[in-house]
Symmetry: C2
Subunit: 107 residues, 2 copies
DNA sequence: TCTTAAACACTCTTATTAGGATGCTATTCT
DNA sequence: AGAATAGCATCCTAATAAGAGTGTTTAAGA
């Protein structure tokens, strides 16, 4: 299905995220079962996420973060952030569609 | 499958993330097809992510962020961050397993 | 203005994942 | 020290998502 294997840095990033979820959970004194239950997902899924398996869905991640009270972090994951106005202005000129440079092999 | 419907704030967070991915892509003058190709996933998947469908996988998100050069943001998503030392110390005492309070209905 | 193709909306099929066991290990807490 | 149970590993199956294809709309750019 996937043309490329998952790049190593991506693998590491996901693994780190998993460890941090585990940490955050334990800091709050929640068991995996409890977190799963509150998030409305199965224990297996929580475990796989904490273990760093890349297959988990964004929905499940969001559910967990919601329970942990850290949903904002997901929401602002790619938020270019602070300089709202400047960015808004900058983005007004952004194309809705991006055309390839008309050179032959443009990707 | 899911006991609870996806909480509204989670839905919004995912939608916001999708919009931000779209923005980041267009800022880099990449088409959906191009981003998909470079990420090793299908255009449909990119589209569904940008659209804010919660079903996408973390792996695909990571692949995209990798291509966009924003993987660090995923890696530090739940990173409690700056105060490394203090946190390390705090975490040394953390239990590996969390026992329920022995009152009957503990979740 | 007019052409090209980017983005969108579907549908269908196959591949993949989530969930539900079960058994095992080892950590907590009494 | 010993009992209770959290967390881990693995297997199986039903549920779900990813990919591929097709047609349509509409913005970009010549």
């Amino acid at each position: 299905m996937n043309r490329y294997p998952l790049p190593e840095p991506a693998t590491r990033a996901i693994a780190k995220l998993g460890r941090d979820i585990s940490l955050a959970r334990r800091r709050r004194r929640l068991s995996q079962a409890s977190l799963a239950d509150r998030s409305g997902i199965s224990v297996n899924t929580v475990r796989r996420l904490e273990k760093g398996e890349p297959s988990g869905s964004i929905e499940h991640l969001a559910r967990i973060l919601h329970v942990l009270g850290e949903l904002k972090r997901l929401e602002t994951l790619l938020d270019t952030g602070t300089d709202e106005i400047g960015l808004l202005m900058m983005d007004e000129g952004l194309p809705q569609r991006v055309r390839a440079r008309q050179s032959k092999g443009a990707l």
